[in-house]
Structures are given as C-alpha cells and as structure tokens.
C-alpha cells in the first residue's frame, strides 16, 4: 500500500529536479528546510527523526540536495524520507510544507483493528504491519 502524507500526496513521487525546485521555493520564502526520516510511518507519528540540523541561512537548493543524498546513502529503501520547511516568522512558527521524497522498497501498509466494546460500539486502531512486529531499524529489511 503506497503511503500518502503531506503536500503532493496525490502525485507520483517527485524527481530530484522537482524536489530541488520545491526547495528553491522554500528558500525564496525564507523557510528553513529540514530532512527527516522514519521507519514508523503511522499517520499519527508526527515525530520523525531529523537528518542533521534544520538548514537555516541557505541560498541554494544544492546544499539540501547534497544532504538528501547523504541521507539516502544511509536510509534509502529502508525508511521513509521527507522534506519539510519551517517558517519561523512570528505567528506562523510552524511547518509550511512537507512531502515524502523516498519510501522503502516494500510498503506492507496498515492493519485495521476493530475492537468491539460496550453495546454495539466499535473502536478502530490502525497498526503498521512493518512497525508492529519488529524493532526500529529492522522494519524494512537491512
């Protein structure tokens, strides 16, 4: 099951050239660009690991693409990687853009658990197949 999260989730994965253009847009807006990765892609898991520090004060997307490629060397095929852009201006102080750039080779998807409780009520839980059975770091193959 193909995971969709964030901006452009309805599009096919962006090419490097397209990623660079999005990053250039973020830089032109003065946002700090971050690279994050995780192997726990539950929709409610908003805390992905950061690759390095947020990249403030950049002038050119080449630097972000360099770091993204460094991150891919370590995590490609074994984790999700996303780029996010943080707007530090007063009253925003939050993410303005976030999209997935890389995904694991296999995406087993999520199991929908239905728990029958009092009366005829049902509680739903989604569980990632990959994250449910294995510890972090081993979920999408070594």
């Amino acid at each position: 099951m193909r995971l969709t999260q964030g901006t452009f989730s309805f599009l096919p994965d962006l090419t490097d050239e397209q990623i660079a253009k999005q990053v250039a847009y973020c830089i032109s807006k003065g946002w700090a660009v971050n690279i994050e990765f995780t192997d726990d892609p539950h929709p409610r898991n908003t805390y992905w690991e950061m690759w390095g520090l947020p990249m403030f004060d950049l002038k050119d997307p080449a630097a972000v693409m360099y770091e993204l490629n460094e991150c891919r060397k370590v995590h490609k095929g074994r984790a999700y990687i996303r780029i996010s852009a943080f707007d530090s201006t007063h009253t925003w102080e939050s993410l303005r853009l976030s999209f997935i750039t890389d995904r694991p080779n296999e995406e087993p998807g999520f199991f929908l658990d239905r728990q029958e409780v009092d009366g005829r009520n049902i509680r739903y839980t989604t569980r990632s197949y990959a994250a449910a059975s294995k510890p972090a770091g081993e979920r999408y193959g070594a």
Partner: protein
C-alpha cells in the same frame, strides 16, 4: 541535453555578447577599479570562455562546466578582497553561478576546536555558500605545519573534495599574501591543481595610488585643494619607501587622518560661517602635519 534542431547551424556571437550584459560588467570593472591590469585581463578571459560555452551549448555542442576556483595573491591592500566581493556579482551576471551571494570566511569559521568538530563546521559553511562564491581570506592559516595534530588539514580535505565533486554548485576563492600562499600551495599540491586561475595582484604605482586617493575622496564627498594634491603626492612618495606600506589601505588610512585633521581645524576656528566649499576641501596643512614628513626630515 536534447539534440539541437538542425536548422540552427550558426549563432551571432555579437548578439549573444550584447544580450548577456557582459560588456556592462567589464566596463563597470574598468571604471571602478584603478590599475589591476592582470586581474581585469583574466576576468575578460573568463567572460569570453563562459560566453563561448553558452553559444556552444545553444548549438548543441558538448560543454563541460569550466573550473572557476581561483586564488588571489598579492601584497596587503592590493584589492584582493574588493575584487573577490565583486567576483560573485560578475559570475552571477555571466550566468555561471545561480545566486548572487558571497560567503566570506576565515580559518575560524572552518576549523573546529576538538575532534569531530571540524567536518560538520566546514560542511555547514560549504552548504551556506552553495550556489554562490566561497571566499577564504588568509587561506594559508588553514595549514599549520608546526602542529601535526592541527584540525586544519581535515578542513582542507573536505574543501578539496567539494571543490572537485561539486564544481557546478560552488566557486571557491582563496586569498592571501603571495609568499605565504606559495608555501601553502607547496605543502598542499592538491589545492594548486584544483585551482584553475592563479591571479597575482601587482603593487600599485604612484600614479595609480593618486587616482585611487582621488576616487576615494570623491566617494566621501571631499576633494584636495591644488596644493594639498601636491602635498599628498609627496607624502605618497615618501610613504611608499617606508616599511609596512600597504597600498590602497595606507592611502585610505592617510585620507582618514587628513579628514580628522580637517575636522579639528574647522572645529577650532569657529568663526564666521562655513561654506560647503570649506567642508569638502582638504588643505595642504592637513597632509603636511603627517608624521611621515617629520620622520623623513629626521632621517635626512
């Protein structure tokens, strides 16, 4: 690269020159910077290469991005930093770099203080400079042969690697005094071979220094009285023979002191009304009060 359509078999180099705005860049350089003939010649060459490359690309001929890393060597005050700061502007207008910015660093910004500190620090600086120009002033400080555990070597290695592999993203300019840079290159041969343009900044002649002085005054809205001009010419003659003469920088310092003396003179003779003329004119006594003249007489 897509195949060029066959119909395009010739291009007008003159037209390409006109639209690129290169002419304006070169003219401006000639106007704003006095002397520096070898420097201007080299910039002209680079401009020509970039222009021809662009035209070749339009015709569908294969081109390699040229290496534009440079080293500026010369005595103090010969304009190395000034030219480097303009280099970003020039390369940007020639279309070689993507953004018009220059990151100016020294050893402190690149080399860390403990093991494992240097690499992230250097990479951080490199990332900030990407798309533009990285200017390393006093670059020879990066290499300290007297301390074999110095972290400078680590910064040098990262720099070399990035200079080689990311040529299209970054132009590195090293600057420093000629003799020390020579020693630096001798002990780091990798640097010499990765730098395509070694540009030597010659000392200014007496005549050029006078023109620089007048240009500086003009920009500050001052001017010499005819006698003051003569006095300053004599001042330069004596000063150029003395030790620690640093070309344009010495000229600027001398002018700053002259301005100071002029201000004191105006302040102490607070009689009558001052005209704009009084405020912008440097008189000979401001120049002649310099210690340089006293010392010269003393020696004679």
């Amino acid at each position: 690269m897509p195949e060029a359509p066959l119909s395009v078999t010739s291009v007008d180099l003159g037209a390409a020159f006109d639209t690129s705005g290169v002419g304006a860049v070169l003219e401006e350089l000639d106007r704003d910077l006095v002397g520096l003939v070898p420097v201007k010649r080299r910039i002209r060459e680079i401009a020509a290469l970039l222009l021809v490359d662009k035209v070749r690309r339009d015709l569908g001929l294969a081109t390699m991005p040229p290496t534009l890393h440079m080293s500026f060597t010369g005595n103090p005050g010969t304009g190395k930093t000034t030219v480097a700061q303009r280099m970003a502007d020039i390369l940007y207008r020639l279309g070689y770099i993507r953004s018009n910015h220059l990151v100016s660093v020294t050893r402190d910004d690149l080399v860390g203080q403990y093991i494992g500190h240097t690499a992230p620090k250097t990479k951080e600086v490199l990332k900030k400079a990407m798309g533009g120009v990285l200017f390393i002033d006093e670059a020879y400080y990066l290499y300290r042969p007297e301390n074999e555990r110095d972290y400078g070597q680590e910064a040098i290695e990262i720099l070399l690697q990035v200079m080689e592999s990311r040529r299209e993203d970054l132009v590195v300019i090293l600057a420093g005094y000629a003799d020390r840079m020579e020693r630096f290159f001798t002990s780091n041969p990798g640097f010499r071979s990765r730098i395509a343009h070694h540009i030597d900044f010659p000392d200014y002649t007496h005549e050029e220094l006078m023109r620089i002085a007048e240009l500086m005054l003009e920009r500050m809205n001052y001017r010499f009285s005819p006698e003051a001009r003569e006095a300053f010419a004599r001042y330069l003659e004596i000063r150029m023979r003395q030790p620690h003469f640093s070309n344009a920088r010495s000229v600027r310092n001398a002018l700053d002191r002259a301005r100071l003396r002029q201000a004191v003179r105006l302040f102490e003779s607070r009689e009558g009304k001052l005209t704009a003329e009084d405020l912008i004119t440097i008189r000979p006594e401001e120049i002649l009060a310099s210690r340089v003249f006293a010392n010269a007489e003393h020696q004679a």
